[in-house]
Symmetry: C2
Subunit: 425 residues, 2 copies
């Protein structure tokens, strides 16, 4: 694979001196949030990626435990707001919180965990409708936890319409004229994460889209735009124990998009794309950060979000994209432009709620324990990096430039404490 890598200005050696000094600072924004006096209350929060930062596959990364000891007070409470932002979508946030508590040796609440599907909680417009859900794991639990009242899984649809799934010779039905089973119209498709038996999910999703929600009916001549598709987690690949990255949900989406286009000649359209690097994800993460600060009665406003991740294409790109949004909004506010207020008045409920985001900036911190490796940077003659982001995201190489590069998550925490002059003890 050619990893799409940024032209980093500074790379780090392997040595990690203690106590921490600012390291790996690169780019013009590195000094921006320095304070002149030591702070004891946080005006910043952390967004931690999980895979490649805290774990690799199922193996913990040693620096994670050290880092988290620094983030707690002697009573075991967090000293700063912390949200775990993962693109994973095939499990409940409570399960992820339990895994993290065990892994890091500190208590993590489910309210600190943001899965790629978490913003669906805000899409109340769809909650009453019958939606087809694709993915694996406890899909119905996830859907119901998010507020969906009538989710239907691919497996259930397959049982109700047994003639549709014809790829696997050994799973074709014995009865060729099964009796018709009534099904409500499917009004949207929700893609939580990569399913298993891709041929089955791809076929049934295509059937739903080409019959406007009545799979089993003949394909219609006119069915475009198709019923809404809401997708979580666009990661093309992710890093596990194998020596090369493995297929993620983004790879499944590449298949779905291209089959739809081949059959219909038209583009599959997403109603919404969630998960890093989408802005919605960072808006929702900031919403959770502010909720934590409110709960702890930290009255100092949260000015800076530090997004710590291992993936340039998702973590860095997404944080920088959100930072650009925050900067632009700040400029408009300072200029007295009423546009930010307009944001509150139009649009859906979630847009109104999230438009109240108040941070001044979002800073990207890249670690070297996952997808990104400073040694694997493309050299001369190795060709151009390939864009592994999603089709619908414009590729802006400038957004691949992290604000900071550090060896691991422990160094990231040290760096941020120093930048913020944060000395809680």
């Amino acid at each position: 694979m050619r990893r799409a890598l940024p032209p980093l200005r500074a790379l780090l050696g392997a040595a990690r001196p203690r106590p921490p000094a600012p390291r790996g600072m690169s780019g013009p924004r590195a000094e921006r949030s320095g304070h002149s006096a030591l702070s004891v209350l946080p005006s910043f929060g952390f967004l931690f990626d999980i895979d490649g930062v805290l774990v690799r596959g199922r193996t913990p990364i040693p620096a994670a435990r050290t880092a988290f000891q620094k983030l707690l007070n002697p009573q075991g409470q967090f000293l700063v707001p912390v949200v775990f932002v993962t693109n994973a979508g095939n499990c409940l946030r409570q399960k992820k919180a339990d895994q993290l508590s065990h892994l890091l040796g500190v208590p993590i609440s489910q309210d600190q965990v943001m899965m790629s599907h978490s913003p669906l909680r805000m899409f109340k417009h769809y909650h009453e409708k019958c939606v087809l859900v694709s993915g694996q794991g406890p899909l119905l639990d996830i859907a119901q936890d998010l507020g969906f009242c009538q989710p239907i899984t691919i497996d259930t649809l397959r049982e109700k319409r047994p003639l549709l799934d014809a790829v696997d010779h050994d799973r074709r039905p014995n009865v060729l004229s099964p009796s018709a089973v009534e099904l409500p119209k499917i009004e949207a498709v929700v893609l939580f994460g990569e399913p298993v038996r891709w041929e089955t999910s791809l076929q049934l999703i295509i059937d739903v889209l080409l019959t406007s929600g009545y799979p089993g009916n003949p394909y219609e001549q006119e069915n475009y735009p198709h019923i809404p598709v809401l997708a979580c987690n666009m990661d093309l690949m992710w890093v596990a124990e194998a020596q090369s990255p493995r297929f993620g949900h983004g790879t499944f989406m590449v298949c779905l998009e291209n089959i739809y286009k081949k059959i219909t000649g038209k583009e599959l359209k997403y109603e919404v794309l969630m998960g890093k690097p989408s802005r919605l994800t960072y808006q929702y993460a900031e919403h959770l950060i502010r909720a934590q600060a409110l709960q702890r009665s930290w009255e100092q406003p949260i000015q800076t979000l530090y997004a710590v991740g291992d993936n340039v294409m998702t973590d860095v790109y997404g944080a920088n994209l959100y930072n650009r949004f925050l900067q632009e909004r700040g400029r408009r506010r300072r200029a007295g432009d009423p546009a930010p207020c307009a944001e509150r008045q139009v649009g859906l409920g979630w847009q109104r709620e999230l438009a109240c985001a108040a941070a001044a900036r979002c800073s990207s911190v890249l670690v070297c324990t996952g997808v990104y490796s400073p040694r694997a940077q493309p050299g001369p003659g190795r060709g151009h990096p390939v864009f592994h982001g999603h089709r619908d995201f414009g590729f802006e190489p400038a957004l691949l430039q992290p604000d900071h590069v550090v060896p691991d998550v422990d160094a990231a925490v040290d760096l941020v404490f120093q930048l913020e002059n944060f000395a809680p003890h």
Copy 2:
């Protein structure tokens, strides 16, 4: 689905009078092979498609039995050379011959059956090499029957490299550092037909291509052009019992091509594409037709091939493409152009062998019992048909025009007997 349909000049009513009269003849070539006197020895042969012509899913089409009674003499021998040309690839030709014998009530030999993979028998260059085979059914039997000495299946590769297949949470290995198992270099990938668990096959094929045949190694920076990929059966969809066509191997190939392109930024290339509408398939089918004629000591040369199918995009397009090839070659021969001889001298063994094809023409006969329906023709304002052929085949609408349209295979046999003035009894 928008079926890609030709602007047919003549369509048939549903009534099918007996005894047969020329029906459904359309286009300028319909009269071309008429004879002035009745023939008793054949100067023509049949290429019958199976799905949509003789069966639909597992349900026999009634006209098939009637048709085949007319093709046999009282001793149960065929009166004309007949080859069954199917794009199916996931079974042995002997099994298909047995199914057809049972279905049609006449004895069919495996030498009359051409699967999409049959021409691989001629690719002796690959037979000694270790090749990865993808598909379902008796893959090793198929590969070995074709002459491959070292086939390795996706399932076997998955066992030997358990870290690679990471999509299904429930099938991930418990051991995270499995001991290394030696594997020979994989020197080619053979795609027989649509597999099951597409995520597994797609991941392992991509791994093989991006490691130049050493899956489990890190992806290489420079591995293009990749190792050869030989693919059988490009059908995007096929008709079963469901009301809309189902995914075929071509849909799997759409996924593979687009994942490869997304990851590498480059095009997946096929060393060879087999199955209708590829010329290789028709060359090989003619080879089988001539072998039958030779075996029966029919000394009259086989001048015309009648390709009977239900799919405009594969059966009609392929037959017309082959006819164009035959016409062009005939013109060059009549002009004394030495090019046909050059074909024999250069190239691979199979090219030399098949270049001896001697038919004068290949005529396309479309039946209405499968994918094609005269009622589903696009009308004004219904938009352009979408190209459902393979990416690597140029789309020439002129080649979608069948020479003849008939209600079913029985009418096809009647029509051809009449066109050829064939009266064996």
